[in-house]
């Protein structure tokens, strides 16, 4: 994730920004941020943008054009759709493509003098002798699959700074290392982070079915009552519709396949009508934070801070995180400016955060997601209570359940789920979808998905959980294939990776470690 556009502050900060995930490369205007953005398109970013450009928001020509016109909410069963009062109030918000907005912000940042270097992956945090963070290092480029140096080998580069801000998005690889090194979870709000996997497609639909500004969310089918998740459907401009499905990663049945649930969902009578005769333009997936208030780590470490979704400021009941992420970046920028010029301490970032509207908002939203630990109906009832009666002022704070990777039950205790074959019109197989994500990695490089213990997949994942990674990965990176002796062995197709981080989160023994691939590789989102 880029250390971002949030520093568009009038006192120009000279910051060097590099991409911490193997992202699409030059031209320099080209930045694809596959962070929480693939879901967070319905944004109240106007607040944050207004704060960063107070005087001239109208002249900015930001790609924010389609105001929300209606907010619908449906509870789905297999064949029916029950309209419910919408818990959302998106009036005044806009439907946008976050990819487009971020590209635009990048241009603005460069005009202000910020240097941005996409196509380089930060693979290591640099520390000095006192264990203070002094910068990051990019990984070597031109390393072959077997680890040897190719002809075009280039060693990584160290980038040092007085302040390092990590903005890698949800479950950032460097951020997680830093959080565990400095024990930031315990120092923060205390709870572990919980996650969901969002899978999304952008469709071009027929003009007669397109209603720019229409916003729809659904709950229920095809997920069961024990699995939290739902869909979103936002009508953008140019006959484009963003449709996606989110599944909380604390699901219990290892046979669950979030991608297939999404494909199934599109066949629902209330949804299929819109998509018939349409074409899919792009596909993508990304995990997002659902821990909210209870899971925010202490975001300051010696030498810098963690901002945005790497810390986790997503407002779950609102299903929005870009506005709080941007605000956290702005607050960090102000603090960093103070550190560089006025001798402040970075700890002031925490103080400013807890005194900002982010805190008030997340505090009011804190009990919605944990309520669903008790099931769909109790969750809806408790949420309604929170929303209409307590209005966020409950005296209690509900706790999260088990960490996502511990929530998976053993395969022998769970019913197999058979998914229907894709029909090629509404639903598709993974390779077709993957092609639409424009994901690409140089094939001749070491796999960036590392196994801490290479034996665990065959000793634990396969026999006990039936290889859940072959089901939850939305890119079919993980496949169990028979070897020459007929034994099933895990094959990692790292080239397919969409950088969603689901495997890093959901692997039962936390054996899979997502690390950055060679810079420049990854999905190519342009209208997501």
């Amino acid at each position: 994730m880029l250390i971002c556009q949030f520093v568009l502050w009038r006192k120009v900060l000279k910051l060097v920004l590099i991409s911490c995930q193997g992202m699409c490369l030059s031209p320099v205007h080209w930045m694809n941020f596959s962070h929480s953005g693939n879901r967070k398109m319905l944004i109240s970013v106007k607040i944050s943008l207004t704060l960063s450009y107070p005087s001239n928001k109208k002249n900015l020509k930001a790609p924010i054009h389609v105001p929300v016109t209606s907010d619908k909410f449906l509870l789905l069963t297999k064949n029916h759709a029950l309209p419910l009062p919408s818990p959302f109030n998106n009036k005044g918000n806009y439907v946008i493509s976050l990819s487009e907005l971020v590209r635009w912000l990048g241009v603005k940042a460069e005009e202000l003098g910020v240097e941005i270097y996409p196509g380089f992956a930060a693979s290591e945090v640099l520390y000095d002798v006192d264990d203070k963070v002094i910068g990051v290092a990019t990984n070597d480029m031109g390393v072959a699959k077997d680890g040897t140096r190719k002809d075009n080998f280039q060693p990584g580069v160290e980038l040092k700074g007085k302040v390092t801000l990590l903005a890698e998005g949800c479950r950032g690889s460097l951020s997680e290392n830093v959080i565990s090194k400095y024990n930031l979870r315990d120092k923060g709000q205390g709870q572990h982070q919980t996650y969901a996997l969002g899978i999304k497609e952008v469709w071009e639909v027929s003009g007669d079915k397109h209603y720019p500004g229409l916003v729809l969310h659904t709950l229920g089918w095809p997920l069961d009552h024990k699995t939290y998740g739902g869909s979103f459907l936002y009508h953008m401009k140019d006959r484009q519709v963003a449709i996606g499905f989110v599944v909380a990663l604390n699901y219990q049945n290892p046979f669950l396949n979030p991608y297939e649930e999404f494909q199934k969902f599109k066949h629902h009578p209330a949804i299929r009508n819109l998509l018939e005769r349409g074409t899919v333009l792009q596909y993508g997936a990304r995990t997002l934070n659902e821990g909210g208030y209870q899971s925010i780590p202490y975001p300051v470490f010696p030498g810098g801070a963690i901002i945005g979704c790497s810390a986790g400021f997503l407002n779950v009941p609102k299903i929005k995180g870009t506005h709080t992420a941007m605000k956290s970046g702005m607050v960090a920028a102000e603090t960093a400016f103070g550190v560089l010029h006025e001798g402040f301490s970075m700890e002031a970032y925490w103080e400013k955060l807890i005194n900002s509207w982010i805190w008030r908002e997340l505090h009011a939203a804190r009990n919605f997601r944990p309520a669903f630990e008790y099931g769909l109906i109790p969750g809806l009832v408790l949420s309604a209570l929170e929303h209409y009666v307590m209005k966020g002022r409950s005296p209690w704070t509900l706790k999260h359940g088990k960490p996502d990777h511990e929530a998976t039950k053993e395969a022998r205790l769970c019913p197999r789920i058979e998914y229907p074959k894709p029909d090629g019109v509404l639903s598709f197989d993974v390779p077709t979808s993957l092609y639409r994500s424009n994901t690409n990695h140089d094939h001749d490089q070491p796999a960036h998905l590392r196994l801490r213990d290479p034996q665990i997949p065959e000793l634990v994942n396969l026999p006990i959980y039936d290889g859940p990674e072959s089901r939850y990965c939305p890119a079919h990176v993980y496949e169990y294939m028979p070897d020459e002796k007929g034994q099933l062995k895990l094959q990692i197709n790292a080239q397919n990776c969409l950088h969603c981080k689901a495997c890093d989160i959901k692997d039962p023994k936390q054996n899979i470690q997502w690390t950055v691939p060679e810079g420049g590789g990854g999905p190519g989102y342009s209208i997501m």
Binding site: I18, S26, P27
Partner: protein, 251 residues
């Protein structure tokens, strides 16, 4: 000796392209663009020749609207010494590109012009050949190996042709177009990208070069290829023959 390398900004090779709804062309709005892969290979070869001491300077040239500057910066970051941007907002077909290059050659007087064998957007495979014709210079196209001889002022070029490999000896100055196996282009490193920001890009227009852009070609319509139909399983040889004869009509 100077080497001039012509580079083109095209849709990135990994992007899934689609045709615009009005069928006037391929959608380039909100699409990732990069340097044409064959142009990268051409530039890499020019840089290697310079690094071996056989050339003094590598000049990267590109033509098109302002955004083309991004691709030029990548070329500078790879190691080109300086660059020229010929600013033209519309589409440039190979003959126009060749005419502009000819005008630039008359100013810069390079000993060698390197181009990619073709661009991956139009697949024309014409510009190198046309500039050689306009300048009346020898050409070595589809090069998979280039060896320069400074003494004799020649270039020995292995060409990938349909029948195998053909080796030509060209007198310099010459035009060479790069094929895939010529080399593996280097990465533009972060320090070089930073340095490239301060390298000079000279901006010119076709008017400055006294080149009139008129096209003899007009794109009338662009359509997607027809969708591949699913295969059919036949149950017997007779059925196969029947289908080949009566349906496919190839027997």
């Amino acid at each position: 000796m100077k080497i001039m390398v012509a580079i083109k900004r095209v849709i990135d090779y990994a992007v899934k392209i689609r045709v615009k709804p009005d069928k006037s062309g391929v959608e380039t709005n909100n699409v990732k663009m990069s340097m044409n892969p064959f142009c990268e290979i051409a530039l890499e070869e020019a840089l290697r020749i310079k690094e071996s001491g056989l050339a003094s300077e590598v000049i990267a040239v590109s033509m098109g609207p302002t955004q083309v500057v991004d691709t030029i910066r990548t070329g500078l970051a790879m190691g080109a010494d300086r660059a020229i941007h010929v600013d033209y907002p519309g589409t440039l077909y190979p003959l126009s590109v060749a005419k502009i290059l000819k005008a630039l050659v008359e100013i810069e007087k390079p000993g060698l012009i390197f181009l990619g064998k073709q661009a991956i957007d139009d697949d024309c495979n014409q510009t190198g050949q046309m500039i050689a014709g306009l300048l009346k210079w020898p050409q070595g196209t589809f090069a998979s190996k280039v060896v320069l001889d400074k003494e004799k002022q020649t270039a020995v070029v292995d060409r990938e042709v349909d029948g195998g490999l053909e080796t030509l000896c060209l007198d310099l100055p010459a035009v060479i177009t790069a094929d895939l196996r010529l080399n593996q282009p280097r990465y533009a490193t972060l320090p070089n990208i930073m340095k490239a920001k301060s390298k000079v890009i000279k901006k010119l227009t076709p008017e400055d070069l006294k080149v009139e852009i008129k096209s003899d070609i007009e794109v009338v319509k662009v359509t997607e290829p027809p969708k591949r139909k699913a295969g059919v399983l036949v149950s017997s040889v007779d059925e196969l023959i029947d289908k080949l004869k009566n349906e496919a009509r190839v027997v």
